[in-house]
């Protein structure tokens, strides 16, 4: 990201102004995200960064390190864990927490744990209990008043209208009809008693921007984004990876080694893989650009409730 400046040594003021005309879109997006993060740290009492270990989280963490360097980011990372993530995600999570010098909080909904809620037997309840409820419980437990999330407006229709500073009621509900106007780069972070804020610094990034940024900045990501031979079964039209021995094989199912990778990462039994040979970032980006199915399609969550699945989930408190 620093090419502009290296090239600018010894140039006149006028040339520098000319260079600014070429501030790239990634530089502008990065700067905007950093500005947002600093505003939150300055105005919120107890911020936290939600960390899901996916590629958007990876970019968020990298941006946070940039925003506050040489200080470590002045807030902890919170992983709302479902216990059903891929093994490689847990590995990278712990490694990144160590490297960034940030505190890592891992929260697992005790009720979901006790009842043994899992994606195989419980369907939608799995997401509700581990993720939606788990998140609410964790935010209440620690008393965080602002939580950074890596959601992007290009991901899904209801996200496109959500503010960067998105307020939640005491019960974590979202009211799309009653959002504060956001003008210029001025964010009103004042909250009423019991309210909390979800903040989305990379709202204006697209999937391609994320990949490009990871590429340019060597941001570490989970190896599952790259193709490799992995044990898989095909089920209900989705290619699932048998990540551990909790995966109940159905009658006649036998894991098959396939060259696969993931476009999005969640709970392994809910996340569909794509067959691929893309082993490098440029190859992954190439495949992403040429592919004609959208990113979230690998996930079951958006399809409930007649096309308004995510909007409904968000009103109920899903991130």
């Amino acid at each position: 990201m620093s090419c502009l400046y290296q090239a600018s040594i010894g140039r006149s003021e006028k040339d520098l102004a000319m260079a600014a005309r070429n501030l790239t879109h990634l530089e502008r997006l990065e700067s905007e995200a950093i500005h947002i993060m600093r505003e939150v740290v300055s105005e919120a009492e107890k911020p936290v960064m939600l960390y899901s270990v996916g590629k958007d989280s990876a970019v968020m963490l990298h941006l946070a390190r940039k925003a506050f360097y040489p200080s470590p980011p002045p807030f902890p990372l919170l992983h709302v864990d479902t216990t059903w993530k891929f093994q490689e995600m847990y590995k990278l999570r712990d490694q990144m927490a160590r490297e960034s010098g940030m505190e890592l909080l891992v929260y697992q909904n005790p009720e979901a744990k006790e009842r043994g809620i899992n994606p195989f037997d419980h369907g939608a309840l799995h997401t509700d209990m581990w993720k939606t409820e788990g998140l609410k419980q964790a935010l209440n437990l620690y008393g965080f008043d602002a939580a950074f999330g890596g959601a992007r407006r290009d991901e899904e229709k209801s996200r496109a209208k959500e503010r960067i500073f998105s307020f939640r009621t005491a019960s974590h509900g979202w009211d799309p009809k009653n959002q504060r106007p956001e003008l210029w780069n001025l964010y009103n972070a004042k909250k009423n008693k019991g309210e909390s804020i979800r903040v989305f610094p990379i709202s204006n990034w697209t999937e391609l921007d994320i990949w490009q940024y990871i590429h340019l900045n060597d941001v570490p990501i989970v190896p599952l984004y790259f193709a490799d031979q992995r044990p898989t079964v095909e089920r209900d039209g989705m290619l699932l990876m048998v990540d551990d021995d909790r995966f109940p094989l159905r009658e006649g199912e036998e894991p098959v080694m396939r060259s696969i990778r993931f476009r999005t990462l969640g709970c392994y039994p809910l996340t569909g893989a794509v067959e691929s040979t893309a082993k490098t970032l440029p190859e992954v980006i190439q495949e992403t650009l040429l592919t004609t199915t959208s990113e979230r399609q690998g996930r079951a969550i958006d399809k409930d409730a007649g096309g308004a699945g995510m909007e409904k989930k968000k009103q109920e408190g899903y991130f």
Partner: protein
């Protein structure tokens, strides 16, 4: 460019497939343009945006399949794809068939990344359009070729111009429905030019298009051979963005956060609003006026020699100077002004109307101060641009008004600097963003009345009297006993050789405030003046006792903010309404109940009790004498 039909958007696919590294290299150097689209419900705005996304392949196969199915189910284009469905996001809107908020969309071409703010056209949603426009480099104003320049067209153009958008595209849409007739286009252009000139728009780019059929969107259309200008995308790819012009202006950066990981490092983090900054540059910190030089520009990727407008950086200075959030670091020889009184344009965005004189939070750059707005000079009718007399501003109203802040802020006129000229107002009780505004200039009286430093300081005034100045601010219902207790407190303090002064509500209204009545706005002004007088008296070293109903929390907090920390002691004389009314010493409650007296606190005007007063006197539990004892004991332990 007449016959260049090569589609600039589609070329990428081949490059991606053949040489991904070369593609990434190109993409890496793309610039970004943010624009808004404005049009009324039937101008085909959503269709145009849907078309842009579709043409730039931002629609995936699964989305397209859903779109095709939806088009047949709820679409308005028969069996054709209804692009508008792509854009209309929330469930409620899909049912109503209208867009009701600001939505952001993204697409790329060879040269640029675009962020589109889709803003609705209804009059009641002025606030949404202003919001979308605030971050835009360009506005696309849509006109239905069959209808020409409408009231909405004028409104959208006025708002875009108001918010300072210099690049305006007049997209004359639905040309397919007027047989691509040049005379229709020319007539609309003539109309619009006359209007635009009248409101100060000096340049705009007219383009005849069909969002539905795709004419003049990505390339020149064979249907409009008479049109020689650029296609829409072509224009969007080449127009200059705001960031570019900002870089030519003098250096300004609002300090967001002081970066202090250890005792050896102290940096000031912020996003550069305008100009460039280099190592060794002389800078000035505002409002203190202290100067220093730039010793380092720090980023995670290594130190920089220079940084430009739009960048978020951390700057280290050569000297140990005070600098904190809210300060502005600027070019030493060309700093912005500071002032506390301004003329401004205000766009009111809340259901609750503006209350002139009521203190609001004002956020500008990284500065948050208390501001009060005067009665508007006029309101603008956004349809006719007429100036109307106005007492206040209600939802979606735009007006020009003077405002004052409780301390000087570093600012520049909005026309020169969006960051140091654009502000929001926040309600102190609900915390809602109630208005957006633009500072035009500081008022001469604030600019030229400099603070006169006096040789005998407030500390020496207090020392001579051998006391600590304070304000005992009594608040409570009429008839609660404020004046009685305040009198007793003053007598006790006088006996202890304390220098005091009692400001009583009724007495002040005979003189200083005799021009004020009892409306909400007048009550606010009454308290502001008393606060200022009390403040002068504390500067003189006095213990000031005030006895005013002062019904509103925000005005009492305003006075608290005027005083030095710890000097404001709020005393709530807490008497139940029924009890105060039963006493009715002055017979006022009776008059209020009979309707003879309007706006009487507790009857037809609200009283907001303090949440957390320094002292609360329960008049049902103690006598006036006991209350006075207690207050004096708290003041002089």
């Amino acid at each position: 460019m007449t016959d260049v039909m090569a589609d600039p958007i589609y070329k990428t696919d081949a490059l991606i497939a053949e040489d991904i590294d070369a593609y990434l290299e190109t993409h890496q150097h793309k610039t970004m343009l943010r624009f808004i689209t404005c049009g009324s419900v039937d101008d085909g705005k959503s269709t145009l945006i849907g078309r842009l996304l579709y043409d730039s392949k931002m629609i995936f196969e699964d989305q397209l399949a859903a779109l095709e199915a939806d088009s047949k189910k709820v679409g308005t284009q028969g069996q054709d794809i209804d692009f508008a469905l792509l854009v209309d996001g929330l469930a409620a809107e899909r049912e109503q068939g209208i867009t009701i908020d600001v939505a952001y969309r993204f697409f790329n071409t060879e040269k640029r990344k675009f962020i589109v703010a889709d803003t609705p056209g209804h009059e009641q949603y002025t606030r949404n359009m202003v919001t979308g426009a605030s971050t835009a480099d360009l506005a696309v104003i849509l006109i239905d070729a069959r209808k020409g320049v409408l009231v909405q067209t004028r409104r959208h153009s006025y708002l875009a111009h108001l918010i300072g958008i210099k690049n305006i595209v007049l997209a004359i849409n639905k040309m397919d429905l007027v047989d691509y007739d040049q005379s229709v286009y020319d007539a609309i252009l003539k109309d619009y030019t006359a209007f635009a000139t009248s409101i100060g728009i000096t340049a705009f780019t007219p383009i005849p298009i069909s969002g539905f059929k795709g004419d003049n969107i990505t390339g020149p259309s064979a249907n409009t051979p008479w049109y020689k200008g650029p296609a829409l995308i072509e224009h969007l790819e080449n127009v200059e963005v705001n960031a570019a012009t900002d870089a030519d202006k003098p250096f300004r950066m609002a300090v967001q956060w002081v970066n202090r990981p250890n005792l050896d490092f102290r940096g000031f983090s912020g996003q550069i609003a305008t100009g460039t900054v280099k190592l060794g540059d002389a800078i000035r910190i505002l409002p203190s006026g202290k100067t220093s030089t730039v010793s380092r520009i720090v980023t995670l990727d290594g130190d920089l020699d220079v940084a430009v407008a739009g960048q978020s950086v951390t700057i280290c200075l050569a000297d140990e100077v005070d600098c904190s959030r809210g300060d502005v670091i600027a070019a030493a020889d060309n700093p912005p002004q500071a002032a506390d009184q301004f003329e401004s344009t205000i766009v009111w965005m809340a259901d609750e109307e503006m209350l002139p004189g009521r203190p609001y939070w004002l956020k500008i750059g990284t500065q948050t101060v208390t501001a009060t707005v005067q009665q508007p000079k006029y309101q603008v009718n956004v349809n006719t641009m007429e100036h109307l007399a106005a007492r206040t501003l209600d939802l979606n109203a735009i007006g020009v008004a003077n405002l004052s802040t409780d301390k000087a802020i570093s600012f520049e006129p909005y026309a020169q600097n969006r960051t140091l000229g654009g502000f929001i107002l926040i309600d102190k009780i609900t915390n809602a963003t109630v208005a957006a505004g633009m500072l035009h200039f500081s008022l001469r009286r604030a600019q030229n009345v400099h603070w006169q430093p006096t040789d005998v300081s407030r500390e020496s005034h207090a020392a001579m009297k051998n006391q600590k100045p304070a304000v005992l601010w009594f608040t409570g219902l009429s008839g609660a006993g404020k004046s009685t207790i305040a009198n007793l407190v003053e007598k006790k303090l006088a006996r202890m050789n304390r220098h005091t002064f009692l400001l009583d509500g009724d007495n002040v209204r005979h003189g200083l405030n005799k021009d004020l009545g009892f409306t909400d706005a007048d009550r606010v002004e009454n308290i502001r003046r008393v606060g200022e007088v009390a403040k002068l008296m504390t500067d003189a070293g006095l213990v000031v006792i005030t006895a005013f109903i002062s019904p509103f929390r925000s005005e009492r907090d305003m006075v608290r903010q005027m005083m030095q920390p710890g000097e404001f002691v709020e005393v709530h004389i807490d008497t139940p309404l029924a009890d105060a009314e039963a006493r009715d010493v002055k017979g006022l409650y009776k008059k209020a109940r009979s309707g003879e007296l309007k706006n009487f606190t507790g009857i037809d005007s609200p009283y907001e009790p303090p949440h957390d007063p320094e002292i609360r006197i329960d008049t049902m539990a103690m006598t006036a004498e006991e209350a006075a004892e207690l207050i004096v004991a708290r003041l002089i332990p």
